[in-house]
Amino acid sequence: MLESQPLLCARAVTKVFPGTVALDGVDFTLRAGEVHALLGENGAGKSTLIKCLSGALRRDDGDILLEGKAIDPRSTLEAQDLGIGCVYQEVNLLPNLTVAENLFLGHQPTRFGMVRTRVMNEKARACLAQYDLDIDVTRNLDSYSVAIRQVIAIARAVSLSGKVLILDEPTASLDAHEVAMLFKVVRSLRDRGLGIVFISHFLDQVFEISDSLTILRNGQLVGSERAANIDRVQLVNMMLGRELQQETRSTGRTDVRTGSPAIRFRSFGRARRVAPFDLDIREGEVIGMAGLLGSGRTETAELLFGIAPHDSGSAEDGEGRLRLDSPRAAIAHGFGFCPEDRKSDGIIGDLSVRENIILALQARLGWMRALPAREQAAMVKDFIRKLDIRTSDMEKPVGQLSGGNQQKVILARWLATNPRFLILDEPTRGIDVGAHAEIIRLIEDLCEKGMSLLVISSEFDELVTYSHRVIVVRDRRHVAELTGAEITTESMVASIAATGSQGDAA
């Protein structure tokens, strides 16, 4: 087949943020009339790449060519004028304006300075008709579902740019019908000759819609393939950074805990978040949770900790039913939770290391019973030493520490409450190799002391090292449970990549 000139071509694009190299010499080639999926876990560099392409960020090095001509968009508006439009995950339209206003904001047809509302609405209807969308364009955007808003956002981007369309996780909160509708739109645009970049964590969708795939990991290009030439297992391995050749034979821990479960969850679930599941937690047991981003792994953690309270099922321990409808209630039952998004859910940035560490314990004691200063200092010093938290001073604002040390501070916060069940969501993400090993050692120590842990991680090798059992989540449901010798990275990858029960969501 004669390869035509690529529509959009990025060569050796590099972007450095203080402390990290977000993109390290990445190449990316998009042809006209194709849907090109961009894949990778959190922090792989996908969003940085599309931000460089769409003008939201300026690259530090490398070239971007549009139809063979070098471009250097300094803003999203400039990129839009060049022909590159972008639709972000959280739809960037204005919910308080009408559909027509959203489509034409800044480009409304006017006469004598007055917007010609009737003409604008007419044009809006005509524009949306191309997408088989027949809706009342004079209503506010927020009276429509996310799927329709996505289509409207796409329509705006296409009408303003018209060559390249970047879709950043457009299907994240859509159901099967809505995904089908969206894909119909995407296919028709592809057939009109647009180049479409598609980002999604749902592998089924990626294979359904994409012509080509590009995989990033840790800011580097892992590979770029035609979709037809790659299978799911290869893809998951590439995303997780494992080559098929260097498969490790290691399996999970064999010292299986057999005691009766300390905490029992029965058909625990919440509509549209996580399908009901059963889960038994034994004393001193590490349960791993494997799944890709958006699979329902974080949702499970938030359910167990009462952040998004369950609406079905129940939890009980030896003494009776547990009420888990708020974090406070969960903490009262001896639960702890280190969230994935440390910045917004974990650290209290302006407060000191000491205050962050004692916070959960203090909250449990109540405001009247302040921990004496000496006790605080002793406890904090102890944690700083035990967890090797690198800080010049325990009074330093925690926001100034590195990611790994912030993670350890939050761990210390929960260890101070001496929990019986601790949930860790991606405890090793975004932290350096040394701290990484220490956190894994710590997880093993804690379980030796009889604490039960649920560890969510996309580092499957890591899960193999410390888990007694591994739960695999996909499409917001728990799909497999592996124990002992069954725990291998291959089996986890296979469970995630398996197609199957996904059909019943539709």
Partner: protein, 326 residues
């Protein structure tokens, strides 16, 4: 029906119901005379409330307007007393000052990223201070043009007088409606209230729009000051204390969301009329005291804030529900 019309309809319904109650008790209240007075007495509040609506629609607030009105009255009175400048020129000069003052506050808000609440609070002190600087006393305005303007009215059937300043308020309301609902600037104001980040991404000139909004509010506060000077024939630096609160209350009772992004200029007009109606009722009744105005306005404020909170809550519930599940 569009859900965003609901608060506006509620406002209109409350106004009509309130007027019906008034009429049932005092049939004399349904006359063009009363309506004419309602428009004249509340002209300055109506004008400044239109400017406040733009500010609040964009997600901001302007606490300086009451002080700017007082400054305007004092400025007009003192300049007319001290110089021989013709009144129209004085008016123009004043509007230029208050408009630049508003634009300056807008620029500080945008470029220094300071909260509008604090910036316009400082603006309120500045404007009031400037008024004190001109005079500490009430300065009467004796220029013949003023009494001529006061005597200008259109005699409505039934003997009511639509005065020039009442008509001016109606014109400002109409102009505000056109500006808000029929121009790109108006849509940009709503866009800012919907979300500054999203608006910027969609190409709204955030800085220019912010400055223009506060400049508009400053200009209308100046215009309101002119109207107030005509209405009272005097300039007094202690006048119109707390008018910014009345204006904000009128905007909220008019169905505009205090967090920005949703509301109508016409609603604000009705809000002003409701507040005027309460006062008129109290005057007609004769036994009730004026403090009931404040309490009733507080109750109305509370009801509208809760109503809007409820609407936001309902629409967010609807959004979560799957649209595809038919």
């Amino acid at each position: 029906m569009n859900a965003r019309l609901l608060p506006l309809l509620a406002t209109v319904a409350i106004f009509l119901a309130a007027y019906a109650i008034c009429y049932a008790q005092f049939p004399a209240m349904l006359s063009t005379r009363v309506i004419g007075n309602l428009l004249t007495d509340n002209a300055f509040l109506g004008i400044v409330a239109v400017g406040m609506t733009f500010v609040i629609l964009s997600g901001g607030i302007d606490l300086s307007v009451g002080a700017v009105i007082a400054f305007s009255g004092v400025f007009i009175a003192v300049v007319l007393r001290e110089t021989n400048l013709p009144p129209p020129l004085v008016f123009l000069l004043l509007l230029a000052i208050t408009t630049s003052f508003g634009a300056f506050m807008g620029a500080v808000i945008h470029y220094l990223e300071m909260p509008p609440f604090i910036v316009t609070l400082a603006g309120m002190f500045l404007a009031r201070g400037a008024a004190y600087l001109l005079t500490l006393d009430s300065v009467p305005i004796t220029h013949p043009v003023f009494s001529q303007i006061q005597d200008l009215y259109y005699l409505m059937p039934g003997g009511g007088r639509l005065t020039l300043i009442g008509g001016l308020m109606l014109a400002v309301v109409l102009g505000g409606m056109l500006l808000a609902h029929r121009t790109r600037f108006g849509t940009n104001v709503y866009a800012l209230g919907g979300g500054v980040q999203a608006a910027r991404l969609m190409g709204v000139p955030v800085g220019r729009t912010t400055i223009a909004i506060y400049a508009l509010s400053g200009m209308l506060a100046g215009l309101s000051g002119i109207v107030f000077a005509i209405y009272t024939s005097a300039g007094y630096p202690l006048a119109t204390v707390g008018v910014e609160l009345d204006a904000i209350a009128a905007v909220v009772i008019g169905g505009t969301l205090l967090t920005g992004g949703s509301g109508y200029i016409f609603g604000t007009f009705i809000g002003v009329m409701i507040m005027g109606l309460i006062q008129t009722y109290i005057i007609f009744d004769g036994t009730l005291s004026s403090w009931w105005t404040k309490i009733v306005i507080g109750i109305l404020l509370f009801s509208f804030i809760v109503l809007q909170k409820g609407l936001v809550w309902i629409s967010s519930r609807e959004r979560v529900r799957p649209a595809g599940a038919k």
